[in-house]
Symmetry: C2
Subunit: 759 residues, 2 copies
Amino acid sequence: MAQVIIGHPAVRTDAVEKVTGAALYAADLDFPGMLCGKASRSPYPHARILSIDVQAARRVPGVVAIATGRDLDALGGEAVKDMPFLAMDRVRYVGEPVAAVAALDEQTAEEAVKLIKVEYEELPAVFDPVSAAQNDAPLIHENSEGYEHIGAVKILPHSNIVNFSEEKQGDVARGFAESDYVFEDTFTSHTAHHGQIEPHCAIAQWGADGKLTLWTPNDGPHRLRKDLSDALKMPLTQIRVIVPYLGGGFGGKGGLKVEPIAIALARKAPRRPVRVVLSREEVFATTLVRHAVVVKIKTGVKADGTLMAREVIGYWDTGAYAEKGPTVSMQATATAAGPYRIPNIHLVGYCVYTNKAIAGAYRGYGTPQVTWAYESQMDIIAKRLNLDPVEFRLKNIVHEGDALPTGQPGHSIGMEECLWRVAAELKWNEPCKPGHGKGIAITSKNTKTPSGSAAYVAFNQDGTANVLTSTVEIGQGAKTIFAQIAAEELGIPLEKISVSQADTDTTPFDSSTTSSRSTFHMGNAVKAASADVKQQIISLAALTLGCKPEDLVANGGAIDFAADPGHQIPFQSILKKCYGAGGSVLGRGFYYPATEKDSGMWSAPSVFWMYGAQGVEVEVDRETGQVRVLKLVAAHDVGKAINPATCAGQIEGGAVHGMSIALFEQVLMDQGRITNANFHDYKLATPMDMPEVVSIIVEAPHRDGPYGAKGVGEPVLSPTAAAIANAVERATGIRIYDLPLTPERVFSAIEKSDRVGVK
Amino acid sequence: MAQVIIGHPAVRTDAVEKVTGAALYAADLDFPGMLCGKASRSPYPHARILSIDVQAARRVPGVVAIATGRDLDALGGEAVKDMPFLAMDRVRYVGEPVAAVAALDEQTAEEAVKLIKVEYEELPAVFDPVSAAQNDAPLIHENSEGYEHIGAVKILPHSNIVNFSEEKQGDVARGFAESDYVFEDTFTSHTAHHGQIEPHCAIAQWGADGKLTLWTPNDGPHRLRKDLSDALKMPLTQIRVIVPYLGGGFGGKGGLKVEPIAIALARKAPRRPVRVVLSREEVFATTLVRHAVVVKIKTGVKADGTLMAREVIGYWDTGAYAEKGPTVSMQATATAAGPYRIPNIHLVGYCVYTNKAIAGAYRGYGTPQVTWAYESQMDIIAKRLNLDPVEFRLKNIVHEGDALPTGQPGHSIGMEECLWRVAAELKWNEPCKPGHGKGIAITSKNTKTPSGSAAYVAFNQDGTANVLTSTVEIGQGAKTIFAQIAAEELGIPLEKISVSQADTDTTPFDSSTTSSRSTFHMGNAVKAASADVKQQIISLAALTLGCKPEDLVANGGAIDFAADPGHQIPFQSILKKCYGAGGSVLGRGFYYPATEKDSGMWSAPSVFWMYGAQGVEVEVDRETGQVRVLKLVAAHDVGKAINPATCAGQIEGGAVHGMSIALFEQVLMDQGRITNANFHDYKLATPMDMPEVVSIIVEAPHRDGPYGAKGVGEPVLSPTAAAIANAVERATGIRIYDLPLTPERVFSAIEKSDRVGVK
């Protein structure tokens, strides 16, 4: 009896461990002789460091090591190597680590840190990305063009612009000229925080043999190993990154966050593990935030609603260090025209240093911010042209074979089905109660391309198998997906597959657990490694049976012998026959998308695109400005849902995440200092705010995806804000251009429109 | 410039870690919430358990869990599944664990263990293997023939004989009839202990998901996983064995030693790690000892010294449980005729249960005990026939192509060179001072066959590589050997290779780190995995260069393009060209010797044989009986010394180990109770006893060994005792038949011979 594995909503393989609290996170780990580390941090957004006096701190009993920036003269950063492990000659944001103490316990470390005296000379700071992009702005990095950086990044010299990106198709000037209407709007998106429940924690240990071991909930263990190898000039094999369970990432747990502090201290306390756990305030202020963005969008359209041209210029407020800002702005810029057929486009992104918390990867990688802009404007246009928003979108959306903004022909495009199904579920054509409104928005997202993933699969004597992968289980259910793929390919039950956690010394290369890429890339690698196992077992069986491998077929974890139908030999019997108790079959798989010759990462067309539509019904309280989402419908094209249960979980969680950012979440800053760096003042959606959520899985299979699968983790967040704003507009007539849609903002807009008599 | 890697005495890759004390052993590990376990142990050699009362122990504050045998109704054992994790209805040796306590600290556990009341009914015990083998002996296992066991083991029903093994060639009766002289002697070898410095320690944790994780210095992590899977009826993937550094094994750290106690307790304390560290006394009494053996040897010889027939009957005192006793006796029996051409042989081994400490694997796997017998007798024969001992041996030793006792034709036989070189180094033909004597002895050893080893090799972007292997670094230098093999095969420097430690969840299958098999078997697997990497890189290069793979040659970590000589492309450049920063090449290798069809493990001819000769000069003090070894020369045929430095270390260490057992070490027992279970009363050779040691590496390359290598770890111990006894005889005229050669024994023999006027 063939079991259904692919497409079956299997229970997550890590469910019991997580539900019972048995899963160990980094801060749960304890090692003999472990020290606790704490950092002394800059109180200024921009200042020169004149001196650091650690004498008083050193005298505190229990202090074992103190580190300052000069101890590790290293610059880190994935795209641009601009960030010292600890500040060297200057600080660029409030909270930047300047020195650190490792002590026998956390209290002692905290006490000692307070005794570190740093003399600063304040420098002029800049907080707004548009101002910071001007020629006369104070330079935050004086020689940024001298930094090492990846080829795809274009740093503009003598400026705060750490990346300029541009995509062009056709001729926008002509497109606008040929349009009947041209719309120009500016939308802003605010600074948000990832709000992971697990705070950042890293344990670093510098072995007597010079090997550096890190235990850290990092979403890219091999990328981290490479970053550290570059920064510290150490071979890859001398750095080991072990990833325990990760308690919420959303993009905020990649690269160098708390790791540099732990490493700097470990270097000064050889052989002793040094653990640094960030406080909630430190997590907010010093790890990562989502880019605030100013998006100027100009769209030309024919009177019949045909999109003719679109120009988008984004100013990405990337904070004090580049981190993934350059690639966020680059990837988002490529998606900034939306999932539409537009013959003439010009998309520009400026990624701009400011003296603020570092912005970088965040679920959606910039796509939510540009979607906010283009999908808000789509409704403005539809209203002006008196078109139904759904009809207007349907008229313009991309289909199979259409040219995408990257120039590549589109493939695996479930856009239309997503839109239809949301409209249907939302009963789009039925009117709302007064004070209610329905809104809709769509999105598309690319994935970083090209990037590689590798996997090992070991088939055991008892018919079980161990899959080795460096994909990090960040709550997305990757372990379950890979178990399903290996089980399907080998034809054995899911329970027989064990999937590793990531450890760069043992689990093979993976680019990173980001960009919604794991199911597609690592899924293909696991599939290939499993196929390699299967092929070897067939060869062994052929030897044993004295026939040709071509005469045999693997089926349900057993070999079918064409010459003797009905006679099945289980894989493990073949192993036993060949090797007694001494056997095993190892497989290896590597997936790297076929791309154009000499294309570097980030610069190539995306190996797949994901599409989605969301719709909401909202109720707006005109007395308070409060927006309440009553129903939230999200349809996403995932190619193929390997596990519909975890897919639906991603869609539901992502849409609610998007709603939370649209309505509640915002990082508030005063002169670069975050003033609400805690979960009391930084408001996340709670169960009290929960609408009825309907998730819809759309499957437009991808020819290169495992079983047709693409990804789902990121786009599920993108259209929500615009859908809500569009619904608010339809409930109230009020168009909001700035996120979030707080009661204050909505109320003041209503009040203003009432005053000027709009509507 | 080609570097020399194979044959180069590379510094051990783990040298710094070990010398600085940074290497972590199991007892160094600490986990949050870890409990300490202690066992209540039998005071009787043989008794029925009437009741176990744990109430008082349970009331001790800090006690978390108590386990008895019935909690885990499981039988373990590699060859014969006869051993309960904790005793169930009866105990069979002094020190057998009966119940165990896990508490918050070790003191509490000890205190509670003392409060466990066990009511016993004593049963008749038997301590001598020859008596125990008789039909009327008390049965130690009442239904041993009902135990599950591997096919090669032959349990004699209704007896204490847990294995009967036999090898036959020719017709010994006729051989003896055709001989001019027939010699019959009985030699005994005593109980010895492994004397590892690191005590046995296991940490067990039973996860919320039902997965059992063990941290234990076990020399066969995959074998342990399999044993536990069988005993506990759990899939292999639900058991994880992690091996930290291992501080001395010598065979005593395989199988189930301290592990069952930790597992039984972990089962009763779910999710909490439970650590059990044995005291030195427990290590002596309850882990493993070397078999005491009674060897009856009968040899027929022509007057010219031609060996005609040999019959050897060994009684192997295997203690209370089978452990590896059956396979020790089996493998040693196959070697018991010695490395000689003898047309008629009959070799018999009885492995016999006694109510004593469990005997099992010990460096040499029984070969030292049979070598002691046959090499002592060879000198008796030579003396009687008035032949020079070296000449007598040279006349009879095996050469390439000769039939071995297993029936297989001999291959890779460096026997003659070993013997010549020892004789030369010892200046054999020059006379000694009075009271001095020179002695010589030779040996040969097989390896368990067939058995498998698997390895992964990952080639990294920076030209380094990670080798994954489950071979355990037990001090033999395996990590360095595999690094050398991978470096040689890939053509890159040794420093670029990192070799894993064993972890059954990630490092692939290996039979065990025993039987001198690792260099040969795992070496071949690592070589194959490296070749797999190289071949893939060549294919990538061919794609990149637009040529055929056949046109390219890998050489020194780079690709030579036949069409463009002199132009070399390093491997990592090819990776970079193909995959940017996103690449890796994975290799896999599996080695399993080609053997006769349907042969099970242990029953097949050995895939390789090792040969060695040792010679000593001793000084015997006739007043005290003290034997002092002045010079110890050891020549061993290793096939090929991949690392001459670690090879020489094995030879030197092994020969001194052999001397220590011959002269000093012995486990003393009184009614089954060990009376010298500590390093004060159990005497190991110290630097004060150290002779001049000369190690000689002989290389008779093996056609299937990596670069010709075989093994070296075990036979280095075998000939020493006989060489010393032969030297003592030549110094004093006294023939000693029983080990060890303590001053008491030698003095009393001298005194007796003086009395009866011999010589």
